[in-house]
Amino acid sequence: MIEFHLDARSGVSPYRQIVDQVRRALRLGLLDEGDQLPTVKDVVGQLAINPNTVLKAYKELEHAGLVAARPGVGTFVTATLRDASVVAHGPLRRDLTRWLAKARRAGLDEESIEALFRDAFRASVEQDIA
Amino acid sequence: MTWLAWRQFRTQAAVVFGALAVLAVIVIITGLQLRHWYDTSGIRTCSAVNDCDTATSAFTQHYKWLQTLLGSVLILFLPAVTGVFWGAPLIAREFDTGTYRLAWTQSVTRTRWLGAKIAVVGAASVAASAVLTWLVTWWSTPFDLISQNKFDPTIFSERDIAPIGYAAFAFAFGLTAGLLIRRSLPAMAATLVGYIAARLVVLAWIRPHFAAPLHATAALQPPGPGSKLVRPPGDSLTRPGAWIVSSQITDPSGHAVNRIAVHPDDPCVATRTCLTGYHQTISYQPANRYWPFQWYETALFTGVAVILIGLCFWWITGHHLRPTRRITTASAQPTTPQATAPASVR
């Protein structure tokens, strides 16, 4: 069972954050087909947000075909976003960790690392489009 | 609701009724003792005035402290105490602490809420005074038989059933004060003042007129040989146990006087005619009116209590507030059409 967290300052609406976190969990394999999402009561009891927000998020996920609500029981995952590439996650993560260590040894602080990454990421996306 | 009314009240009830229980034990033990002494003192059978005087004055020395306590102190205070400490804060306390906002939003109407409180605490107030009055009346019976002055204004207020009316009135007055003033301490003070004022007013101006007093006149008699005291004929004009409401001495020409001045050298001293032509006029209530008066007094105070309680019920259901004027939606153009967006589409 996953747990949600809310970043009140991020400017992203709470329901959007929940949808994104479910999608991320599905992508990373933290949620599998048949797993139950936390009940609305549990989510609001932990985050102190309006239950309609959670309902809206679950409804959108249901609309996207990712989950299905079973009345009286709960909401369950029906599809994953995992693809074959998940097997590459392990080695890629290790490479990334090594690269981060190298960047720190070179003297970059956290802000610079993030800026460098974003810049390179954006450049590569633009290159792909072009 | 009765549960809540009792739960809020139980400590105060325990204190007072506990004290009454202790008092009852004392009263019953000493009262039985007194009755025994009374029976064996020979007061019942005495005939000669001097013998009676000695026997009675010896008897009245018994339990002098208890006579004062029971006769004057407790029963004077108890109705006032229950009115001030039970009646006044009953509602005022809920306003003070704001708990009325909790009580009035449960699923009981304010009428039922008030009714339960009155039933529990009001009944307890009246019962406490009833018990105390019965104890005092029973205990004082020997003394009252001797002195024959139950109709005396202060003693009248402390016997039989009158204090029950006082207790009901004090409670109702306190309740009303608490409801209108909405603060405990001022309501308690107002209750004390109101109760004392009511008692004094009735005592001085109303009770004497429950029934038209009777009148009697008698000439003043010179003192008997060897005695310097002038015995007012009033005592013998009326039978013992009467209440002398007012008494007036008139001179031979019919004018009311306060004093009769006699100089030792006056010629009338020798002839014992100084008091000739002086009369005493009294207005009185005969002893057989004692019990009707007890009922009148109790009914008066209880009647006012009932009216006050009715006033409280009327007040608490909000009837005193101006009824709302209905504004039909056709005529009321909301002046903030933009600000009050009706149920928005989700």
């Binding site: 609001v44 | 909790l102 939003t105 149920a343």
Partner: protein, 296 residues
Amino acid sequence: MSTVLQADGLGKRYRRNWALTDCTLRIPSDRVVGLVGPNGAGKSTLLNLAVGLLTPTCGRIDVLGARPARGPAELAKVGFMAQETPTYSGLSVADHLRMGAHLNPSWDRRFAADRIAQLGLDPRQPAGKLSSGQRAQLALTVAVAKRPQLLVLDEPVASLDPLARRQFLQGLMEVVAEQGVSVVLSSHLIADLERVCDHLIVLVASRVRLAGDVEHLLATHHLLTGPRHDRLPADMQVITASHTDRQTTLLVRTEQPILDPSWAVEPVGLEDLVLAYLEPDSHDHGRPGHLIGVPR
């Protein structure tokens, strides 16, 4: 859609002051409604009118289709938590639950006992000895255990520390999720309400300045920045405006998209939106295009 609360021209006067003026509202059901405004704006007055503790001076108010507190049936449908959370300080926690059971036919004993146990409250402790957070939780339990259709809470978290505040709101949201009850709660801090409310009412100086679903309000209010304009756009309602010598910043309300390219359009956060309506010079009603200058 049904309304839980309906007010028409509602007004309340104390002696010479009008605590609430010309209040017209339609609050839909199944919402958590936030009532926000500065101290003395009339929030408590409105809530007390809604539960029948006050009677209107003029106008009318209906709650769940009936006059508030008309009878035991109406009283049972509305749960109330008053400001400062009054409780009977001499009565224990368990006594408060017993009181609730005696005074409310619809009382759910099991729920109340479970909730108290879950909160970790000692049933024998007198309410006067509880912390303010615990008292608030007790009062909420008493209000909720009778299974009302509407919960009215008057500044429930005003005097609570941040942890107690969060715990209270968590508990409240759990109840809403479980029982589907509508809630109206007031606060003078928008931060308390942002997370939980999906419908907002702004009350300033005894008048309603703004009312609507939060989603709709956020979608229809925009922050416009652009070069200095002395004439304001005629096609949208300007709430606040400020000017420097070069730049104009407007908070506008409009249902239409903004097509004028000279304006940079940004969304407005809820807190900023409410603050704009709390300003005394803000323009909450009237013809669009009217110029308001608030030099900063």
